[in-house]
Every structure is written in structure tokens, then in C-alpha cells.
Amino acid sequence: MTTKLLSLLFLVFTCFAFGQEVDIRGTVTDQASGQPLPGVNVLVKNSSKGASTDFDGNFEMKNVQINSILIFTYIGYKDQEIVVKNGDAITVALVEDSEALDEVVVIGYGSAKKRDLTGAVSIVDSKMIEEIKPIKIEQALQGTVSGVNVTTQSGAPGAGLDIRIRGISTNGANGPLIIIDGYQGDIGVLNPNDIETITVLKDAQAAIYGTIGANGVVLITTKSGKKNAKTSVSYNTYTGFQESSRTLPLLNATEYALLLNESYAANGQALPFSNVTGLGTGTDWQEEILNDNVPIISHDFNVSGGSENITYAISGSHLYQQGIIAPKKSDFRRNTARLSLGVDLSEKLRVKANAIYTYIDRDAINDNGLGSVLFNALNTPSTLNPYDANGEPTLVPNTTGLGIEIINPIAQIENTYNDFDLRKINGTVSLEYDILDSVTLTSRIGYNTTIQESKSFAKQVDYGGKVFDVPRSSVSQNAENFNDYTLDIFGTYKNVFNESHDLTVTLGTTIFKTFGNGLFATGYDVPNNSWEFADISLATGTSDARDVGSYTFDERRLSFFARAQYAFEGKYLLSAMIRRDLSTRFGPENRVAYFPSLTAGWIISDENFFDDINSVNFLKLRASYGVLGNDQIGNNGYVSLLDGEATYVFDNSLVQGQAIGVLPNPDLQWEEAKKFDVGLDMKLFNNRVDITADYFINTRDNLLIGNIPVSGITGVSAPGSGSPTVNAGKVENKGFEFAIGYRDNLSDDFSFGINYNITTLQNEVLEVNNSTGFLDGGSFGVGQLAPSRMDVGNPIGYFYGLQTDGIFQNQAEVDAHPSQNDLGASAAPGDIRFVDINGDGNIDANDRTNIGDPIPEVTMGLNLNFKYKGFDFVAYTFASLGNDMVRNYERTLTDVNRLNYVLDRWTGEGTSNTVPRVTTAATTNNVFSDYFVEDASYIRIQNIQLGYTIPAKFSEKFKISKVRVYGGVNNLYTFTKYRGYDPGASSGAPIGGGIDFGFYPIPRTYLVGLNLNF
């Protein structure tokens, strides 16, 4: 070390002694597109002097010796060396290193050059994230990456999203494993601007994560500084206004009254509205609760840079979003602070650390399904006024036809009070030590620790005999804390033999432990019945029932793994992995499992015979096969615990006993995903065209299915009990992925790029291992058979119901048709005619059949970008085709408001063959059938953005290297035939998904923003 320092000093000294120095400046561009390249490292050879280019590709260096050599390096491009002759400006055009494809991709416990990858891997970089402006990072994967589908659970601020990689396979957790800088983390709370790249491992490449990689792996690399880069500072902000992307066409007051009269008359009842004149259009309840110009604001700030031995990145961000429903009661605030530091302690020892602090404050209204604010807005009659004469929200009358579950949504919002706070620190510390030139030992620990607090206030309120009445005020408070750590220790041996045998061997272990607890309590009689006083410290009332609770958990995983990567002459690539895993999720006999995989690649374009093919710059063929695991099920499913409910009354007071909880399955074992993939990567026409194509077959065996319906004789319906998790089947997903990108610059001022990707997916259940051969799930209406099913030969979670055949036009048609009495009522003209599928001359539940499924057959993304002088434009679109959705947000009460498609109902022979008659009498029209299944295919313009960058010559006067202003729209428009709020929403359940209980619409957001770089 000392000698090195001395020699360095010596070098510097010689420079001073003999050198003639100049100040130099220059610009670095991409040779293919002519676009400036930001962040290119410029180093003076054999010195510590260096710089990096700014956002316009410009760099500047003072006191550079004449005849010294500048080295320009940039990921994905060939290095270039330039000799400094004089002080003239230097222009360098870097050539993309298509042959080397040197871009380094993290692949888990190491990294690989992109060209050497042998698995199906997709990447989203920070540039794309910057363009899409996701509020939550999951949104950046929708439409940008083939084989990935992202569904929203709700359009409410801060609501969760589900990521599905190559379809739905399992009934447990379908979400991929999220690895942040090497440790298992939570994607949902990250600040999108802290992310450098997102790498999606879609095939057996993920096998290095054996245990938990079955659903695919998303590797997130957070931003860090670059060595020898001068400090760069950026500040980004945007503000936006949101509105609902959709409202449903409901009946106005007059239409409603007339319809109601007709349905009462059809059952021989007195008309509820004797006079409909003067009712007019009445109240549009959606308008009452859906708001326009709802604000969203984001700021973030980044500083990064590095010296020879140290890199750093510091960032902070703030996001605040209000909901389009009840902006003051439903909002999402996220503040983050992050520090990333890398230090080379010596040539052989490197340490890296980063830490992210996140604060989230989320307040919510009841935003999904039965009882939600939207549900009430859809069902409350348009004849009611929002407010009464005293300015109070009108009570929904306590009449028979409106039931007890519908209240004035305005009052509901007013009486909603809750608060959710999350504080989280996550990060990693890692140490890399080069024991030998060829052996590196890495030890790192990643951690998450989260404290969550929530409070909800049940205000004493009387809606006049509705289920929402609260006779006694109470406040419920929860405190939960979750912790986990991932400890990795692994060694990597890397060597080249005889110049052509390139071998990398990785060997290591990972231990993972997650633990935490929760505490719940409720206090009664909140002083003044007011949110200001809603805290258990003041609400001292108690109830005779138990009003406290708690839980604790401790789950662990232990893994050992080995991987060998071998390349012969850089063009024949082979990688083999094996991993041994243990998990506490399974019983002692079934804890251990081994997961092997093999991937291979052939870079055909490196072969001699390819030399003459000029139009193809790069061609690689690859194939992979591997077995991955899944343990994402509830805790302790293998053992029967006394955590059921056993509460009874002796001596006139409650007594608590013990009872068995969820039924156990002692034979629980790993779910196995067998993944096969063949693919090719190709670059054509001077690298302007980039193609990736894959064909995959994923077979999921020993499918873990939670809460599987079982015979009631097992006691599964007892209070606090539940169905067991079982290994119950086999599902296959196969499909084709194709992504093509084209970019070109038509002139110095005009460049453009276009990216398109398409994924097809065919899902088929191959085996169901229970006695009945099928599994049911989901729910529809009230008291009906489960609408979703999994059985052999069909897609998982397909809709299983009656098939309709138009409407009975007259009594003769009814008489000619098999009896529908066994559905619960006899048919009359105007009722739906169901098909006698089994041909037994009788319509009943045995006539149910496949009437659609929620899995899209094809998903596509089309993304465009243009650049003309200072202007830039991007557009991201996503399409999902072939997915069905069940309309289940309509209440079957007689007096509720309805969607206006009922105006096309049957009112007499020949009037309609699609929409049945209205009547208050019992009919079978509400039995689950394809009448309720709608095609929810859609195309969504997710994001468009137009930006303008002020010419550098102006901005630099203010010492600002880049000023960009932009405007954009998120969720501009959705093309769909689906009637509900959001065809892209899903509960995420594999059996029972795609049933619309009234999903909150996603907001359309108009944004204006500013990017500044210093």
C-alpha cells in the first residue's frame, strides 16, 4: 500500500515536472444514434484524474498533460482511447459493443455480461422508470417487459399491485421473489427514483434462488455512485391532477322510478312511484363522490459521485397523493431517505453499504367490494337527494327494497376515520474480499425492519337500522413489527484456462429469518364521539368480550447452493446450478429439497461462418431447464394448533376455551416448478433492431393450494377453523414471448425508438389430486355455488356456471324448454333460458360448464419515443386480450339503482334477447351464468409525456447542466367493452380472481414536471 502511494506521488510529480498542460472539454455521443451519452467515464490513463459526462454528453477537465491518453468507458460500449494533442474540443463517438454486450446484469449471487446470459432475463432501467413516472415501482413493469403482467387491486392511493411472471401457476402467493441489492425485500414501499435497474429472471436462471424462485425473481439494484465521477446533483419534481378514468352509466331518477314501477307491477305489487313527473335526472351519486383535480405531488433529490476508492449516492423523496374518492380521507404519503456508500478498503477488500428509510402514511376509505363507498354510490337510488333540509347527508330510507346494507356514501365518507403509519429501515452491508486473484469471498447481510401502526375510529352513528350503525363508539389500535434478515456468504472462483476455457464457480449459503409480532386493542366510549379524542388512553370503556389480541411469528429458511458457469471461446456457454433448501413452512420430514438447473447458450454470430452475414450483428440461441421451489404458504400449515375460536356463555358470561384452528396437513411439501425455456437474442442492421424471442413451458407440480374447500364433516366450518393447505395438483403455463425494438436517428435533430412486446399464455390444469378432481373458489352473489373452478383440461380458476341461450320470449318457449325449477324458481317469459348441457331434460347445477376465464391469452406492450431537437415524447401502451371478468358489483335488492343496460330489457315478445325482464318476484336470472361474464380485454394508453430540454447554452449560464420541463398524462384512456370500472383490476386470487366486486377506478393523472441536473 505504501509503495503504491509513493509511486502515485511519483507519477504526479513527474507530471508536474515534465508536462505541458491544457484544459480540455469535449462531447461524447453514441455513434449509432448520434445522441449524447451522459455518465461516460473519462479517465486520464495512469492517473487518478477523471471526469464523467453530463446529461448532454459534455465533459470538462483541467490541467491535462499534452500527450496523455484519455480513456472513455461506458457500459455497453467499447472503450475508446484518445491522445490529447492540444486544447481543442474533443468529440468522441462511442461504438456500442454489440459483440461484447458488456452490460453487466445481476443474476443473483453474482453478475454476468448480458451477452453471456443463458436464461430469459428482462431489464427495466432507470431511464424507463423516469419516463413512466410510476407512483409505485410495480407499474414500471407493465407493458415494458414481455411475460410480466401487473394488475391493480384498487385505484386507491397506495393500494397494492400484483406482479405475475409468465402467468398464474400456484394458488399460494403468485408474486415473484423480490431481491433488493441481494436481500429479500418489499417492492411496494420503494421510491422508484432510487432504482438503477430492475432485472426480471423468468426461467430456470432463477434456480439459484431455489426455494422461492418458482414465481420468478425480480432483482432490484438501487442507485450507487460511480468511481471517479464528479458530484452530480439532480432534482426532479412533478405535480399532477387526478380524476376518475371511468364512471358507470347509471339510471337517472326518472328512469329509475319507471323501472321500479315496472318491476313491482310485474309481481303484482303496488307501484312505488305513483307519479314520476318532476323527478328529473335526480342525483348522480358518482358525481357526488368522485372528484376532479385531485392533487398528486412528488419531489426527489439525488446526489451521487465518487473518487478513486469511494462511491456515494444520497437521495431523498417525497410523494403525496390524494384519492379521487374522499381526497381528505384517503391519501398516501411516502417520504424516503437513502444513503449508499462503497469503499475500497484495499485492493482486495471492498465494503458496500446502503440504507433506506421509508415513512408511509396512508389513510383509506372502504374502497373495495360490498359496503364500499363506490358500492353505495352505485346502489343508492338517484331519486334521493345527497343532503337533507338541514344540510346533513340524507339517510337512505329504511325501506324493504333497499335492505340494510346501503347507506349514503357521503355520510359514509364523513364518518370514516383511520390512520396507518409505516416506518421502515432496510438496507445491506456487504464485504468482498479477494482471497486469491481468482477467488472472491462475499459476505453480506440485508435487513428489513418495519414498524406499523394503525388506528381506526368507529364513530357512534345511526344510519337508521343499517349494518353500518355503530351503537357504541370505539377506537381500535394496532402495533405490528416485522423484521427479517438475509445473510449470504459465498465464494466465487473465476479463472480462464488456456485462454479459451472460462470458468466461474460460486459456492455459498443463505440464511433467512423473518420474525415479528403484533398487538391489537380496542377501547370503547371515545370522548365526544370525536376523532380528536380517539385513542385508547381516553376511550376507557371496556366490553365484556375480549378486546385485545396479539400474535408472534418466527419463520426461517436455510440454503446451500453451488453454480458453475463455463464458456468455451466465449461462444459456447453452459451454466449449472444446484441448491439445497430447508424451510420451517414444512414439517420435519418434508423440509429438505434440492433444486437443480441447467442453462446453455450458443453465440452463433461469433462463429466463422457468420462473418459474411452483415445484417445480423449478434445472434444467440439459449435454452434452460430447471426445478424451482415455492414455500409461499401460511405459517405452520403442517401442524394442528389450538388457535380456533371456542367462546361460549356459562353463568351468563363469556367463557373462552380452546379449539382447533385451521386444519393441518402434515404431508405438506415443496411445490416444484419445472421450467423449460428456449430463446434467442438477436441484433440486426447495425444494432438498430433488437429482438428477443422465447418459448416457455412451466409445469408446476405439487401445487400448494391454501384454504382448499373440503368436506364439512372434518369440522372445517367451525369458528376460527379453516381449510388446510395441500399439494393438490399440477398446472402448466406455456407461451411465447417476443420483443422487438427499433431505434434510429433520421437526422442530427430527430431520433426515435419503438419497442413492442407480446406474450401469449396458455394455462392448463394437468392434475388435481383431491378426490373430486376439482377445486372451487371465489364467490358470486349471495348463497350461490362457488363460481370459479380448477379442474383438468381447463385454465386454472375458470368460470364455472350456466350457459345462457337468450331470453324466453313467450310461454310456449318456456313450456318447450326443460324445466328450470331446480334452479330455485320457475321460468316465465322474459327470463333467461339456460342450456341443458348434460342433456338430462332438466336444468340444474349439473348443467354448469366453462363460461370463460380471467387469464389473458395475449398481453402486449407498445412503447414509442421521439426526440426532435430539445423536444422529447414518449408513449407507453399496454393491451390485455382474452381475459374475462365477472360482473358482481350489482346488488340484487329490488329498489337499488342499476346500470343503464337494463333499459334494453325484455318487456314483451321480441323486445330483447339479451337482458331479462325486471320483476320483484323470485327468478333464476341471478343464478351465475355467462350473462354475468364479460369480455374484459382492454388496451390502455398508460402514459404519454412530452418534454422540452432548454438548450445547454442557456441553462449553463445558471450552472445547471440540464433543465427539462414536461407534461404528461397517466392512464389517458382505456379501450374496452367491459362495463365495470377497471378491466385491469384483479383480487389476484388464482381461483376466484377476475370477479369484480366493484373495483376502485384507476385515476387519470395530468402531470407537469421539471428535471434539473447540476
Binding site: 329504511n398 324493504t400 327494497g401 340494510i404 482471497i435 469471498l441 349494518v467 350503525d469 351503537p471 357504541r472 456468504i489 465464494g491 440464511i511 366490553s543 365484556d544 368480550a545 408472534t552 411469528f553 418466527d554 426461517r556 436455510l558 430447508l582 424451510s583 420451517t584 429438505v592 405452520n636 401442524v639 394442528s640 394448533l641 389450538l642 388457535d643 371456542a646 367462546t647 361460549y648 356463555v649 356459562f650 353463568d651 351468563n652 376455551g657 380452546q658 382447533i660 386444519l663 368436506s711 364439512g712 364433516i713 372434518t714 369440522g715 372445517v716 366450518s717 367451525a718 388446510p724 378426490s771 373430486t772 372451487d776 348463497g783 334452479l823 330455485g824 347445477a845 335488492l893 329490488t894
Partner: protein, 486 residues
């Protein structure tokens, strides 16, 4: 090189050991949990499990209200023709195997069987003084749940330890006689072990077991067995009729001298529609309440289970029980100024015995689901009438039959019956209906005596039993056949 390799191996080994990277890392106790298979180590454990077995009694609210709706006493009512469609169909006798309400009864009663069997499976594990009381109560409860199952569904699978997954495909539906045989042996054991006074109010007694045993005999037309056990209970038990019929169904009348077995409810704990069987309240009460009611004494509900005009008219004008059992809402509203709404199949009458009463301000929500009204499962009046029926129909002694029958009539301030033979049988049937109207017995009394045809829409040789849930037939994978006619 070799040394370095050894160094590397040494470093790895140390790191692994320090980090705890051995398989032992995975061996961890499940924090704060009790394994159900390592339980029953103390008296408390048995008692706690017994509480769990009692818990399912609260879900028998469904049996009571559906038993009434199925009979000729009441109509389904509710909000509209599709409100709780499963009940509507049962009322009209057009129910099918697809019926979530019947499925509830099947599931909940088997859940009760399993919780009782959990104790019985481990009955020999730990000894302590008084254990036989807990075992006897567990057997009483198993008999209670199996009696419900056999009443509703006829042949059902039998097991004396917990059912396991897969049993549905291998254990057949035992014939009704076998189910009754198990019920009888459980109840005989319970009658011989328990005493007439319960250790805590709400627990089963010798009287509860004897009454249920008598009932089980009667349902099998074993009249002499029934007569013996019921007479013994009448003679030796501590029970009597409450003088004032009106007080029986009020809060202060709970667990009174007439109560032979009573399902306990309370309103101190909240409940929701998501888990009706989890409620500690009597759900049937809220469902029977007067729709949109506002006025004294009662609180509103969902207007199900509304008595028919025919049931109202079955009472003599001067039968004091009529206005206790059935509320004439028009008359009530006229005299008190109360207001109310009219639901589906509004008859003007409500099941007053189990109407929701005005409650304390501290009643937990959803108040419709947490009414505290205990269900008087077996009243002494029922015991007397069962005894009368056994003595009469078994041709043992019409004198004794009249004695017991007239004891019930006297309390109702009615004249004695003097008839004999079939006329006496009819009188007893009529008295059972009037005395027990609104309490969930009528449907089963009709079908067990071959009088099902008094119910509108009743199909003989079909509707005596309810269908096994569609889902269960599927789960059994051919092991179980559906009941005849469904």
C-alpha cells in the same frame, strides 16, 4: 496454493459455524402455540376443549329458524322473494341440493361432532377428579349434534373420533338406526353420569340428557323406552312449568325452572355476516325481527319467519299463549303508536317468542346478529308433551298421557282434554304445535308422525329429509348417494 485453499476452507467453515448455517437453524419452536395433538394434560385442558364443543350450539340458530320456516307455522318472509334464497326455497318446498343454508347446518353440526369427538378421542389421556362429568357432557353434545344431523339429513357418516380428510370418500352414510344407536348410548352414559344440577348455568345436566334421550326414542317410535325415561325425568327431575307463560321468553325467564336445556347467547361480543357461526348472539332473533320497526319493547330486524294466519287462528280465542307466541303487529302498532315496514310475504304476524327486545346501550354490533335471547331448546312443557305422546301412542296409558297433556293445558288456562286413543293423539299433536310454536320443532313433529302433507308443496317420500349438500356429494366422490327425490 494448497495452503491458501486450506485457508479458504477454514474461513468458510468458521463463517458457517458462526452464522449458524447448519440444519439446526431450522429447528425452532412455534412461538406461543399449543399443538392440538399434545393437549389434554390437565383438567383445564379438558374443560377448555369442552367450551369449544359447546360453542357450536350457538350455530343451531339456523336449525331453529329453518325448522320453523319449513313447517306450516310460518312463511319465509324477508325483504324480497330472493332474500336468503335458500330459506325461501325451503319454505316453498322447492329446495335443491344447492342450498348454502342447508350446507351451513350440515357443516356446523359436523363441526360440533368433531369438537366433541376431539375430547372423546383423548378421553383416556389424563385422569383427574370429575373427568367423567366432562366426558359425559362431551357425549351429550355429540348426541345433540348427531340428533340434529339425523333429523335433517337421515343417514350420515358416523365416527367416534375426529373425522379426517378423506373420510368422506371411505366412510359410508350409516343407516338411521345406527346413528340413533350412537345417540342413545351417548345419552344413556350422560344420564347415568351427570346430575340434575349443572356445575355452571348453561351446561348440560342429567335432565338434558334424559329429555334428549326421550326425544330420540320418540323420533324412532320407541314409545315404551321414551315413556320410561321421560316419566323418570318428570318424577325425579327438578323441573316444573313456569306459572306465567309470558315470562318464559323474556330475558329474566332465561334458565328458569322450566328450562331442561337451553342454548346460551349474549350480546357482549360483536359479530358480522362473514362468520355467522362465530357470533355469540342468537342470529335467528335479528332475522325474525319486525322490519323497520320503531316503537317500544322490541327492536327491528329482517322480518323473516312470519307466522301464518292459519297458525294464529289455530289458537283458541282465550288461549293465553297466542299473544305471547304471535305478535299481531297491526294491533300492537295501534295500541302503542309503533311504526313498521312490510317485507316480503307480510302476514301481519311476528314470532314474538324470539323477537329482538330493546337492549342495553352496550350491546355490540352488528346488533342484528348479536341478540342475547337464549334458545329454549328443551322446555319442561316439551318433556310433558313428549311423555304424553309416548304413553298414548305406545298404548301404555292414556291416563298418564292426559295427565301430562293437561298439565300443559292448565298452565295455559285451558280446559282438560278427556279424549282417548287417536283423538287424544290428535289433541297432543295440536297441543305440541300451540305450546311450541315458533321454537323450531313443528316441521320435524309433522314428518315424524306422517303429517308432512300439511305443509304446502310437501312431497311425500322426499321432503321428510333435506338433501345432502351438493358439494358434499361431490366431495364423497361416489361414496354417498343423495337422499331420495333430490
Amino acid at each position: 496454493m494448497k495452503n491458501k485453499l486450506i485457508n479458504i476452507i477454514a474461513v468458510f467453515t468458521i463463517l458457517f459455524a458462526v452464522s449458524g448455517c447448519t440444519d439446526d437453524f431450522i429447528e425452532r419452536p412455534i412461538p406461543y402455540s399449543i399443538d392440538s395433538e399434545n393437549y389434554f394434560n390437565s383438567e383445564d385442558d379438558y374443560y377448555n376443549a369442552l367450551v369449544g364443543a359447546y360453542d357450536l350450539l350457538q350455530s343451531t340458530y339456523a336449525n331453529a329458524i329453518v325448522g320453523e320456516i319449513a313447517s306450516n307455522n310460518t312463511l319465509c318472509g324477508g325483504e324480497s322473494a330472493t332474500d336468503v334464497i335458500g330459506w325461501q326455497q325451503i319454505d316453498d318446498m322447492i329446495h335443491t341440493p344447492v342450498n348454502s343454508n342447508l350446507k351451513d347446518i350440515w357443516n356446523w353440526m359436523f363441526a360440533g361432532v368433531n369438537r366433541a369427538n376431539y375430547i372423546l378421542e383423548f378421553q383416556d389421556k389424563t385422569d383427574f377428579e370429575g373427568k367423567e362429568i366432562i366426558i359425559a357432557e362431551a357425549r351429550f353434545l355429540r348426541a345433540y349434534y348427531y340428533f340434529e344431523l339425523v333429523k335433517w339429513f337421515g343417514p350420515v357418516p358416523l365416527k367416534e373420533v375426529r373425522f379426517q380428510l378423506g373420510d368422506e370418500t371411505s366412510i359410508p352414510r350409516s343407516p338411521v338406526e345406527d346413528v340413533y344407536a350412537l345417540i342413545e348410548s351417548d345419552l344413556i352414559f350422560a344420564s347415568n353420569t351427570l346430575s340434575y344440577t349443572a356445575p355452571q348455568t348453561g351446561r348440560a345436566t342429567r335432565g338434558s340428557a334424559e329429555a334428549l334421550l326421550g326425544k330420540a326414542y320418540l323420533y324412532q317410535d320407541k314409545f315404551s323406552d321414551a315413556a320410561i325415561v321421560l316419566e323418570n325425568l318428570i318424577m325425579n327431575g327438578p323441573y316444573d312449568l313456569v306459572t306465567d307463560y309470558d315470562t318464559i321468553f323474556e330475558n329474566q325467564g332465561e334458565n328458569g325452572i322450566e328450562s331442561v336445556f337451553e342454548v346460551q347467547y349474549t350480546d357482549v361480543e360483536g359479530a358480522s355476516f362473514d362468520c355467522l357461526q362465530c357470533s355469540e348472539g342468537n342470529i335467528a332473533v335479528g332475522f325474525s325481527g319486525i322490519r323497520n320497526y320503531s316503537g317500544p319493547t322490541f327492536t327491528p330486524g329482517f322480518s323473516f319467519n312470519v307466522p301464518t294466519q292459519e297458525a294464529y287462528d289455530a289458537f283458541d280465542e282465550d288461549d293465553i299463549r297466542r299473544d305471547v307466541a304471535i305478535l299481531d303487529i297491526e294491533a300492537w302498532a295501534a295500541s302503542t303508536g309503533a311504526t313498521f315496514g312490510t317485507g316480503f310475504e307480510h302476514t301481519g304476524y311476528f314470532n314474538r317468542k324470539y323477537l329482538p327486545r330493546v337492549r342495553s346501550a352496550n350491546a355490540a354490533g352488528d346488533v342484528n346478529l348479536t341478540n342475547p335471547n337464549n334458545y329454549r331448546a328443551i322446555r319442561f312443557a316439551d318433556v310433558l308433551l313428549m311423555a304424553a305422546e309416548a304413553f298414548n301412542r305406545g298404548s301404555i296409558s292414556d291416563d298418564k298421557a292426559r295427565l301430562y297433556l293437561n298439565r300443559v293445558r292448565t298452565r295455559a288456562t285451558l280446559d282438560d282434554i278427556t279424549a282417548s286413543g287417536n283423538a287424544l293423539t290428535d289433541a297432543i299433536y295440536q297441543e305440541r304445535r300451540l305450546e311450541l310454536v315458533g321454537e323450531g320443532h313443528q316441521f320435524f313433529d309433522l314428518v315424524r308422525t306422517g303429517r308432512g302433507n300439511q305443509i304446502d308443496g310437501f312431497s311425500a317420500n322426499k321432503n321428510e329429509l333435506f338433501p345432502v349438500p351438493f358439494e358434499e356429494i361431490q366431495f364423497s366422490n361416489g361414496n354417498w348417494q343423495q337422499n331420495p327425490g333430490y
